[in-house]
């Protein structure tokens, strides 16, 4: 089969990889929300390669799962709630590596009971290992994180 229809199989594999990477990002969103809502970092940490880089802009840059874990364990000191909505996936796959760019809007409540809205983009690198996709690098570019009742004018990020 593989000898007879190599391009055909590759097309299916591409669609399956695309699906798997989108699911990885949805699991990433759920994992983030487990951290913010319940202080539980394990589901999120399982999505990274051991040497992953997690660059969350103004919130810091963390290399390696151990370092990412330390950051995640501190989040509940500042926040009680989050929900991360990811849209507009732009994914390019090259064999066992892939790149993704997503739009993000997220809603938070901090420990001072202040509601916040964040928008931005996330640029990801993914790596396939033993038939499973992982996040190797993620870079968040925050456009704004604004209190709900103040709006975002005057808070647009320097990158823009």
């Amino acid at each position: 089969m593989k000898m007879k229809y190599p391009n055909f199989i590759n097309k299916i594999l591409y669609l399956e990889d695309l699906r798997a990477i989108k699911n990885l990002k949805n699991d990433y969103a759920l994992g983030c929300d487990e951290v913010f809502c319940r202080g539980c970092p394990e589901p999120l940490l399982g999505l990274f390669t051991p040497d992953a880089v997690w660059d969350v802009g103004r919130f810091g840059r963390f290399e390696g799962v151990g370092s990412i874990k330390e950051c995640l364990e501190e989040i509940r000191e500042s926040y009680v709630y989050s929900i991360h909505y990811f849209t507009n996936p732009r994914i390019d796959i090259q064999g066992y590596r892939a790149e993704g760019r997503w739009n993000l809007w997220a809603l938070y409540t901090d420990v001072k009971e202040q509601d916040l809205i964040l928008t931005g983009t996330e640029d990801d690198n993914y790596q396939k290992f033993q038939n499973k996709w992982f996040i190797k690098e993620m870079r968040l570019d925050v456009h704004f994180q604004a209190p709900l009742f103040k709006g975002w004018h005057g808070l647009i990020g320097e990158s823009l």
Binding site: I9, E16, N26, A29, L30, C37, I83, L107, E113
Partner: protein
């Protein structure tokens, strides 16, 4: 002749796309109920024995009960728009499960603008070649007037005890 394994892989990809389309039809159906008092498009997405569990909106079992509930929506809401994102769909033959993030905007009959934040867990069944919703469970994180924000509800649900 395409071999059986390849056919199954293509079928699964097509099923996932069909289920995503079903959910977007569900969203549009929800909005047509509030915006145009039109129940029929929404009712088409359910199996006859479907369960619609809307938490504060009640649990309704079977298409007849769902229809009865929906017919009361226009007396509560004058506007709705449902945005579903982050689809997580798992297909197993003629059955499937899905988890979606939801952000919805409503206006009620007293002119209050409302924001609903939550997650929907669905079950789907393929009936005569067509995917339908057999169960929907809404987990509401917050439903509150825009002017109040969501902190009251989420602090109660997720805040440090």
């Amino acid at each position: 002749m395409v071999d059986r394994d390849v056919e199954k892989r293509i079928q699964k990809l097509e099923d996932i796309e069909a289920i995503k389309r079903l959910k977007f039809d569900y969203a549009e159906g929800c909005d047509l109920v509030a915006n145009q008092n039109n129940l029929e498009p929404l009712l088409k997405v359910f199996t006859e024995d479907a369960v619609w569990d809307g938490e504060a909106f009640g649990k309704h079992i079977g298409k007849t009960a769902i229809k009865e509930f929906l017919s009361g929506i226009p007396t509560m809401l004058t506007y709705s728009m449902h945005h579903f994102t982050n689809p997580r769909v798992v297909v197993d033959g003629d059955q499937a499960q899905g988890r979606w993030y939801l952000l919805a905007f409503f206006t009620d009959v007293d002119d209050n603008d409302l924001v609903l934040i939550g997650i929907e867990d669905d079950e789907y069944k393929k009936v005569d070649g067509q995917w339908l919703i057999s169960s929907m469970i809404l987990t509401t994180h917050s439903q509150a007037p825009l002017s109040e924000g969501w902190y009251k509800s989420v602090t109660e649900k997720f805040g440090l005890k």
